[in-house]
């Protein structure tokens, strides 16, 4: 078992040092084997939390810590954190022309392996084909340039393809359901569920219960004003679907 532990995390946007903190003391523990859902109103720090855990240089930790099995990640650049087992399925994945999807995923896998133990190309292609088939992605998506001209839904599916190929310890999935049609939602959920097991944990950011019908979480957290204000089981999400967030306590209020 591996543990991701966030303690008293305070975060600012580096480019706006005079603005107030976006995260104001977040505490969260995710063990492998668990699925956590993170919900909450727009603009209250969910993506900021995911990006900060991953190591996006746009954010600055002003207090607190992020640890994996006791080791602090704060001084590690994003690529080192990734190799340690973190994965972030982004709300807005970047497009990169001239680099094919397959070439990129292979480079990502090889970055985790020793120079004299790179993944054999045939083995890689076989696994890529099988994973793309699971996600019902057309074969030519492997040779297309990374996210270039992909539709919103295709980009999300491509994030899950990378997730399944890389097999991290912890997947932070930021609105992986946005832009997905009903069939795609089911397919993508199937992909995430296939990873469930004692060596895989996930923090799933979503606004919709629908996703959590497919990927049933062990814990549901609500974030408001940069703090986790409520934690419960899968039922909490169902309740919020009916009641909304208004009645929950919060800090200064949702500006």
């Amino acid at each position: 078992m591996t543990t991701l532990e966030i303690t008293d995390l305070h975060v600012k946007v580096k480019a706006e040092p005079t603005h107030p903190e976006i995260l104001r003391g977040v505490n969260l523990v995710v063990h492998t084997g668990e699925i956590h859902a993170l919900m909450g109103p727009n603009g209250n720090g969910k993506s900021t939390l995911a990006e900060t855990i991953m190591g996006n240089p746009a954010y600055e930790v002003t207090q607190g810590d992020i640890r994996i099995d006791g080791q602090s990640l704060l001084d590690m650049p994003v690529d080192a954190r990734a190799r340690l087992g973190l994965f972030l399925g982004m709300q807005y994945p970047a497009e990169i022309a001239g680099v094919t999807n397959a070439e990129f995923i292979r480079a990502a896998i090889n970055a985790r392996r020793a120079d004299d133990d790179q993944v054999p190309i045939m083995q890689f292609l076989k696994e890529l084909d099988a994973t793309m088939a699971t996600l019902e992605m057309p074969e030519d998506m492997a040779d297309r340039y990374l996210n270039q001209g992909f539709s919103g839904g295709e980009k999300k599916r491509n994030e899950i393809l990378q997730l399944m190929m890389i097999k991290p310890h912890f997947a932070l999935l930021d609105e992986i359901d946005s832009g997905l049609d009903i069939d795609a939602l089911r397919i993508v959920s199937k992909g995430v569920n296939s990873l469930r097991g004692p060596e895989f944990g996930s923090l799933i950011i979503t606004h919709y219960q629908r996703l959590l019908d497919y990927i049933v979480p062990d814990f549901v957290h609500v974030m408001k004003d940069g703090e986790i204000i409520e934690t419960g089981g899968a039922d909490l999400a169902k309740e919020l679907e009916k009641t909304g967030y208004e009645h929950l306590k919060g800090g200064v209020g949702n500006a």
Partner: protein, 334 residues
């Protein structure tokens, strides 16, 4: 009356022309089918501007290569001499289909290279020029003239260590002629590199596209001029160009200048240009999957150049280009 200076915006051509051109008695080596005729010691083409005057001046070997009508044989490979530039005139006769490769790994002081390609009606040419000169300066002129319904797919890999200027011109003379010119350039150190890439639609229903990509590091300066010209009477023609420069160091300087001259109404034309730095969001995305910073940078840079070099399918040449890119970047980081 002396010949005029060619139009080379922002490029100090006059300064380069003041240098004495290297003596170039050794002609290019030509590898081709027996059906292809090669003659050396022929007369140089008639110069029409000050650059061409310089290129024919002094001692310059002149080679003529004729690819016969309806040729469908193997690729024709022109290899520049180890220490000399030169003048080459390639004639592709009607209906021929040929892959033409030109490679210059030439060293020296002040190189001059002049290549003229005449493509007759209905002929198709895939032209690959690989410039890997190591001279101090190089002045290069390449002109392609296309007759009716001729097609030219042209890729230039500009990987020289020389400073200087390269003038590329595709003239779409006959009705329905089509040309694509892809240019991929890498400049490093203290190099000053200028490209003037011109596409002229003269015939009706002609289609010409320019696509230039350049990556610069160190203190290098790269200038991309794209000149699209649609001549009066070239009805139904299309002229498009894209010029993009990626700067990798704070001291690198890039210019991308599209110039469109349109003297006809019934045409389509467009241009795009940009000078940018490496996109931090792209790097972050790649690195978030575990790629180390240098690998991520290489992927972004290769990807950027790919648009200029996509037509290069020879795996050995592609590997050489990628290796040059990687070495240049490693040196730039050192």
């Amino acid at each position: 009356m002396p010949n005029p200076m060619p139009n080379t915006p922002k490029i100090a051509l006059r300064r380069y022309l003041a240098n004495a051109k290297d003596v170039a008695r050794t002609p290019v080596t030509v590898t081709a089918d027996p059906a292809v005729t090669v003659s050396t010691n022929v007369a140089a083409p008639q110069p029409t501007d000050a650059l061409e005057d310089w290129l024919v001046g002094g001692d310059s070997a002149v080679t003529t290569v004729t690819i016969p009508a309806h040729y469908t044989g193997q690729a024709v490979v022109l290899t520049g001499a180890a220490y000399a530039g030169g003048i080459v005139h390639v004639i592709v006769e009607a209906g021929a289909t040929v892959a033409l490769e030109e490679r210059w790994r030439t060293s020296g002081e002040h190189l001059g290279i002049w290549v003229v390609l005449d493509v007759a009606a209905d002929a198709t040419v895939n032209w690959l020029t690989y410039d890997a000169m190591t001279s101090t300066t190089a002045l290069v002129k390449r002109t392609a003239n296309l007759a009716a319904h001729a097609t030219l797919n042209w890729t230039t890999a500009g990987f020289t260590q020389a400073s200087g200027a390269t003038l590329i011109a595709a003239n779409l003379i006959g009705t329905g002629a089509k040309a694509t010119v892809n240019v991929g350039v890498l400049a490093a150190g203290k190099q000053h590199v200028g490209y003037v890439t011109a596409m002229t639609n003269d015939g009706r229903q002609t289609v010409g596209h320019i696509n230039q990509r350049g990556v610069i590091t160190g203190h290098a300066h790269l200038i991309f001029n794209g000149i699209g010209h649609i001549i009066h009477g070239a009805r139904g023609s299309d002229n498009q160009q894209e010029n993009r420069v990626l700067m990798l160091s704070p001291h690198a300087r890039g210019d991308a200048n599209p110039i469109l001259l349109i003297d006809e109404n019934d045409v389509t034309a467009g241009h795009a240009a940009s000078v940018t730095r490496v996109d931090e969001r792209q790097l972050y995305y790649l690195m978030s999957r575990g790629l180390r910073e240098d690998t991520a940078k290489r992927l972004v840079i290769r990807g950027f150049l790919e648009a200029g070099l996509a037509e290069i399918t020879d795996p050995a040449l592609k590997a050489e280009l990628f290796q040059t890119i990687d070495e240049t970047l490693v040196n730039a980081d050192a």
